[in-house]
């Protein structure tokens, strides 16, 4: 099968012939001591912070669900009240008719 990526494959084959990284892979002097000390010092609050993080995320989720449920439960009364207000306050025809009806004998 002819590859559609021959340029890339030829280039990468040439790149693989480059000598391997000969830099020292051992930890530099003092690195492991510093990291271990930092890890152990921060570790006392680590699990607590992780627990708080988990609880906070759950709290956000529960709060979101409660907010959505309360909106769903109260949506129709709110919309109804809003419509009543609009009809009663903003519609001049209703105002005039209501006035006429109430003033007629």
């Amino acid at each position: 099968m002819k590859s559609d990526h021959t340029e890339w494959l030829r280039l990468v084959a040439a790149a693989r012939r480059a000598p391997a990284d000969s830099r020292d892979a051992a930890a530099p002097h003092g690195f492991s001591t510093r990291v271990a000390a930092l890890a152990m010092a921060g570790g006392a609050e680590g699990p607590l912070a992780a627990l708080l993080e988990r609880l906070s995320l759950r709290a956000v989720g529960v709060a979101g669900l409660l907010a959505a449920a309360s909106v769903a439960a109260n949506l129709s009364p709110v919309l109804q009240a809003f419509e009543d207000d609009v009809l009663a306050v903003q519609d001049p025809v209703v105002e005039v008719l209501a006035f006429d009806l109430s003033s007629s004998p």
């Binding site: 559609d4 990526h5 021959t6 340029e7 890339w8 494959l9 030829r10 280039l11 990468v12 084959a13 040439a14 790149a15 693989r16 012939r17 480059a18 000598p19 990284d21 830099r23 892979a25 051992a26 930890a27 530099p28 690195f31 492991s32 001591t33 510093r34 990291v35 271990a36 000390a37 930092l38 890890a39 152990m40 921060g42 570790g43 680590g46 699990p47 992780a50």
Partner: protein
Amino acid sequence: MSSADPEPFDLALCLERVRGRDQLAAKALVEHLHPMVIRIVRARLPRRVAEEDLSQEIFLKMFTRLDQYHGAVPFSHWVSRIAVTTCIDHLRSQQRRPEFRWADLSETEADVLDAVLTSDSDQLPGDAVAAHELVQKLLDQLKPEDRLVIQLLDLEQKTIAEIHAITGWNSSLIKVRAFRARRKLQKLFVELERRERS
């Protein structure tokens, strides 16, 4: 066995001691894992980030999350995933990738690129180190995740299973990312060839 042989590293015991807040065990664990972590960091080191800072961040994440390790995968795989994700997060935070330009290439890199674009021979003339540098510059054009997959697959010649072990990504995702990366590189070569001819 001679007395000069180094004592084999008991990872299970070391992890148990680290969980018990033993600082010496934590130090031993860092020293044991450092060669693996630094290889990952050096191969995927974002620009302007010191390798020591990045490896320290990886180790601190490892210690913080140690309670989440339950032995489902080998510990080295678990740590390598933390290392890979940390490198990708750093690469992603850089957002803008440097534009690939002929003018920024060294003379030997330009020669290698010219040979790739104009010759059909499998044996490219020039320096393998220059080819390696050129590959890194081309990889800089890819998204961090795509770059990682193509680097592991084509440059380091890892199998899909090995890449899954290192990254935790499933084989379909790895193949999709490899396909996307190669397509982007191919587009880049076409564009470079067009510019070369013009």
